[in-house]
């Protein structure tokens, strides 16, 4: 099948807003019918409200073009990093390393994405930040739990900055026949992965029995995983016309992204469980912190980026 429907914003907005409009309708109906809403309904109401805010902010950033998307991703990285470092056991001796993390590594990574210097942004954090952070901490002389501390900082930087920076990086891939439409790759990835999260939750609530990893998260069930991943993959396949992948390519890419997203959520839950918290933060009403909403995107972004780059891009 050839791509005969060109991706366009009105079309994509119409499709992608369906779940949100549906949720808003349910929310209004619930508030209409239920006199005294319980915590579940209130949380749902908050979540839907937050989704409208998030969708509006993403839309604004997209309208501002490449710079807007890079800036928004950098701000999300900043908020995520702040949540991550709050739960990481650093010592006062890590202060210079922390200063480097926030004020050098984060802006530099996004600057390199912005100027499209792939060779350097692909190794800046895995190689150079990896070497610089322990040096800065070692100079200060405190060796308490040294390896744990620097591993925590490096991991924070990889997950919150490096992984997320691959989302705006999608805009710079050169894909024959898809020129000027790369922004739809970002919209597609976010939509499919977030939809998968929502559907996993819904399937889990409807018929979740067997937990995938009971020690990590009792709410992640095999039924939720299969139902969510498969139904989100189906929707991702139906949106093939937005992508350069073709129908089967879109199915496989959506599957890869949703599976990576699920595993990302699992890993981030394990960290939360270890630190004894329920949410990473509080800044997104109804959802928790930035990482709570981003966890699946963090894991799927670099995988989606490299698959696209390898199979479809000319550079």
């Amino acid at each position: 099948m050839t791509v005969d429907i060109a991706p366009s914003w009105p079309l994509f907005a119409a499709v992608s807003l369906i779940p949100l409009l549906l949720a808003t309708f349910v929310d209004v109906a619930l508030r209409w019918r239920v006199a005294e809403p319980g915590p579940g309904i209130q949380n749902f109401h908050q979540r839907v409200g937050s989704w409208w805010v998030m969708v509006s902010i993403i839309a604004l950033a997209v309208m501002a073009g490449k710079t807007g998307v890079v800036l928004l991703a950098a701000l999300c990285s900043f908020a995520a990093l702040r949540e991550f470092m709050t739960l990481t056991r650093t010592q006062l001796a890590d202060h210079w390393a922390l200063v480097t993390l926030y004020y050098v590594a984060l802006p530099l990574q996004y600057y390199l994405v912005w100027i499209d210097w792939y060779q350097l942004y692909a190794i800046l954090i895995p190689v150079y930040a990896f070497l610089a952070l322990p040096i800065l901490s070692a100079i200060r002389g405190d060796t308490t739990r040294f390896l744990q501390r620097i591993a925590g900082m490096q991991w924070a930087l990889m997950i919150c900055v490096y992984c997320l920076s691959h989302l705006p990086a999608l805009m710079y891939l050169e894909i024959p026949g898809y020129e000027g439409k790369n922004i739809f790759l970002i919209a597609y990835l976010i939509f499919v992965v977030q939809l998968s999260d929502v559907l996993q939750y819904a399937w889990g609530k409807l018929c979740g029995r067997r937990p995938v990893a009971p020690g990590v998260s009792p709410s992640k069930t095999v039924e939720g995983l299969l139902g969510g991943v498969l139904s989100a993959t189906a929707v991702g396949t139906l949106l093939w016309w937005m992508t350069p992948f073709g129908v089967w390519g879109a199915a496989l890419m959506a599957l890869a992204a949703t599976v990576a997203g699920f595993l990302g959520g699992l890993v981030m839950s394990a960290i939360k469980r270890d630190r004894g918290v329920k949410d990473w933060g509080h800044l997104i009403p109804g959802h928790g912190g930035f990482i709570d909403r981003l966890d699946s995107v963090l894991f799927s972004a670099p995988i989606f980026f490299h698959l696209t780059r390898y199979f479809w891009s000319t550079i």
Binding site: M85, T86, R89, L98, V99, L101, H282
Partner: protein, 213 residues
């Protein structure tokens, strides 16, 4: 003009505080009521009173005056502007030898004007291990002077990681400010017994955060 500048600088400081710490206030032992109160908190950073100030509801905020060390805060024009004009603070002399006026009288006077106080009974920023430095006696004398005023313990969590003593650049780490159950001095309570009770109340206010182990 100075007044306008003070408002702008105040907004800028509050904005930076939120950006760096996404600070949240928890009112566990008491409600944010517009009463005259003494908020006493742990002290690990110069930004401590800013965080308390930032989480107070606007109505309480404009009536809450931080009590600050004159030898630090009056040393330069910028600091004096910040503490006096932006935060409407009360500068007290920490060392008895430097005193022109009695700090207890300064603070009591503010309470009589129905203003609340934010003070740090440790007297200096605590940089080492352990929860608190021993309280200095000011809190006891103030409590004796105005026994009807409620003393509210306030635990500030994590700010020492944002801006540790001796560092210049703050780093973003989320902080919380927890307001505990208020207390009063008992009529026949000794100084040491009261200070120990106040310190215990402050430590009891501390949230049980695994991350700071």
């Amino acid at each position: 003009m100075k007044k306008l500048l003070a408002i702008v600088v105040g907004k800028a400081i509050a904005f930076s505080a939120h950006l760096l710490t996404s600070v949240r206030g928890f009112w566990l032992g008491t409600a944010p009521l517009p009463e005259t109160r003494v908020y006493f908190a742990n002290h690990r950073s110069h930004g401590d009173f800013v965080l308390i100030w930032a989480v107070l509801p606007p109505q309480l905020r404009k009536n809450a005056r931080p009590v600050a060390a004159a030898d630090y805060w009056l040393r330069s024009r910028v600091r004096r502007f910040i503490i006096a004009d932006v935060f409407n603070g009360i500068a007290i002399e920490r060392e008895a030898a430097d005193r022109q006026v009695c700090p207890i009288a300064q603070m009591a006077q503010a309470l009589d004007l129905r203003q609340s106080l934010i003070l740090f009974p440790e007297g200096t920023r605590h940089a080492g291990g352990g929860d608190l430095l021993p309280f200095r006696s000011g809190l006891f004398h103030l409590a004796k002077a105005r026994p009807e005023v409620a003393l509210v313990p306030v635990w500030i969590e994590n700010l020492n990681r944002v801006l540790p003593k001796g560092e210049i650049l703050p780093v973003p780490i989320a902080c919380t400010v927890t307001f505990g159950k208020d207390l009063h001095v008992e009529p026949d309570e000794t100084k040491d017994a009261f200070l120990a009770r106040a310190a215990a109340a402050l430590i009891a206010t501390r949230p049980d955060a695994k991350a700071t182990e």
